[in-house]
């Protein structure tokens, strides 16, 4: 992907760009708001990472300007402000996701890739398919290799999200936010419990597992090898 990073902190920007390049992305960088807006409007990017507090032009102002010009490029807002109100304001300005600083790079990468995927697929599917796993969104039914799997509503939503992001890492925070709409860190391993229950249902009895735990990052649903 071609990604634009607008971040004024040189060191933070350097780490971020190194990480993104090592993950196989092309990265452009702007160190202030004005230059950032110039780059964002003059070139085409697959996604943007915009810091909220920037010299020149505020990050939120850049996002609102892009949106008012009908630019739908997925934007991930980074901010040192981690409060519910700030998140709401960031998303209202037109950001697609909001990540408080400091963040784990794996988290940022997973969210960014999820955003870019979402931006691409505009069509509404009625069936999701990953390897032998098949989900009927209308009938709310799930089968693996033709075998019916009985899921609770929350397990269904969890699996739907994993399938929509199949092949990519999905973090615990992303699951908590997207499946349950919670924006806090639980003290308990609540997401792990839900995932392991789901894994029991979709992997048990099959030779190859599909739902993998990625150490230090999250989970990944992949077609059975």
């Amino acid at each position: 992907m071609k990604i634009l990073v607008i971040e004024d902190d040189r060191e933070a920007a350097a780490y971020l760009m190194k990480g993104l390049r090592e993950s196989g992305h092309t990265v452009d960088h702007a160190a202030d708001g004005t230059q950032g807006l110039f780059l964002a409007t003059s070139e085409r990017f697959d996604a943007m990472i915009i810091d909220r507090m920037l010299p020149g032009l505020d990050g939120l102002a850049i996002v609102s300007t892009l949106r008012s010009n009908d630019d739908r490029t997925p934007v991930l807002i980074l901010s040192a402000l981690d409060a519910v109100d700030d998140r709401v304001r960031g998303l209202r300005a037109g950001g697609d996701d909001y990540l408080p600083k400091p963040y784990a790079f794996s988290e940022l990468l997973a969210r960014l890739e999820a955003l870019a995927r979402r931006g691409g697929g505009g069509k509404t599917e009625t069936t999701l398919r990953v390897g032998g796993l098949e989900m009927d969104l209308l009938a709310r039914g799930v089968r693996r290799d033709g075998v019916e799997i009985d899921l609770l509503p929350r397990e269904f939503r969890l699996l739907e999200y994993l399938m929509r992001n199949a092949g990519h890492v999905v973090t615990r925070t992303m699951l908590l936010e997207q499946v349950w709409d919670y924006h806090f860190d639980p003290q308990t391993n609540v997401i792990d419990v839900h995932v392991s229950r789901l894994r029991q249902k979709i992997d048990k009895g099959f030779a190859q597992p599909m739902l993998h735990t990625i150490r230090g990052a999250g989970y990944c649903l992949k077609p059975a090898a």
Binding site: D82, A83, V84, D85, V88, P100, P102, A104, R154, W180, Y182, H183, F184, D185, P186, Q187, T188, N189, V190, V193, H194, R197, G216
Partner: protein
Amino acid sequence: MFALFRTSTFRLAMVYLMLFAVSVFAVLGFVYLQTVVFVSRQIDETIDAEITGLAEQYHERGLGGLVSVIQQRAARTRGTTTLYLLTDRTHSPIAGNLTRWPDVTVDQDGWLRFPLQRAGSLVVGAAGQGTGDEAEHIVQAASFVLPGGYQLLVGRDTQERSDFDARMRQALGWSALLTVMLGLLGGVLLSRRLLARLEAINRTSSSIIAGDFSRRIPRHGSNDEFDHLAENLNGMLDRIERLMAAMRQVTDNIAHDLRSPLGRLRSRIEVTLLEEPSMERYRETLERTIADADGLLATFSALLDIAEAEAGSRQETRGPVDLGEIIVNLVDLYEPVAEEAGLRLTLTLDRPASTMATSPLIVSGNRHLLSQAIANLVENALKYTPSGGTVAITAGRSGDQVRLTVTDSGPGIPATERERVFDRFYRVESSRTTPGNGLGLSLVKAVISLHGGEVVLDDAQLRRAVDDGIPDEQPGPGLRATVTLPALASPARPSMGS
């Protein structure tokens, strides 16, 4: 004193003084004019009455009678206010207290006006013509021709009127002066009084600016606008002080409770670097460092969340929130966790009509913060209740409050520590081995207070009336957390009346 003239209160007092003085002058002037007109009319009427009276005397008693009456009256009026002169047709005096007929003509009002000198007797004449040792008086007189050619003149010394006039003017002058003086004095005193109170507010403000934040503006006790101002300013100061205290506490907490884990983290890295280089050892240290850093960051954002909730969050993310919905979702989230831990998680929702519009469990607030606070209570219950126990959540309406309880069958919290567990980083001694940062309940308290509610801890008193098949052995007294929040007035249902 000169500084006083520049104050707005003094200027205001002066404006009032001017308005007041103008109206006082207008009233006095009116009274003066009325009095003067009244007095001169009285003189006119007296003269007319005298002439009419004397003419009647002449008709009744003839010339002799008239002369005797005139002599009688002239003698009586020793104060010489009234003048009489009776002459024949050649103006030769017959009787009266005036020496001769004045040689003036009648003016347009029908009056004779002539100067009078008093030198023993009454002499008609201009000043300077007589001895000059007496002031010249003006006489106002009327003449009347009697049958037989006799001429009668009745006059009145207008000196009395002039004296009255002068005295009146003088009195008016003095009252005007007195009005201005009193007004000025009053204005100065009044503005000084107001200034003194303003000055008290200013002085207190200055000393607060200088750093003495414990100062408060004194109230006068009269419950007037200044007292209201003082109250409002003091209220503002109280709030600022609370915010500052909250901020200071965060700083203290950071200093005390974040420093030591940072120190541990640092020494671990240091020790690893001192050891024999080993890729595997480095990797392990880095992984543990990331885990520690994550823990620190979590603590840090928890502290900020608490501080923000305590300071009072901005209102923009507030709205109607259905606590029932929050609890249902939380139970959905935590049910597998409870099951995994061998706990029974029950939910009793006193919510007859379960649509958003009619739910009795609606409060005004921030959904995310309330979710997090209730999640913290549920997590605590799940964390501290031993396997085989129960965690019961109930929610219902009681009066205009929404009441939520989270009850567990765990070890409970000793009564003496139930208040302290809300303090930041405070952990009950027996729970120190369980993972946690000691901030969960602080956040609960901050969030619930922010929403105008209350959270109370007490013994669980789990009811055992129904035999639910759960073994009756209780490992502890259990803990019940009760949250009360003001209910948002239920959306008005369509009533028959309106």
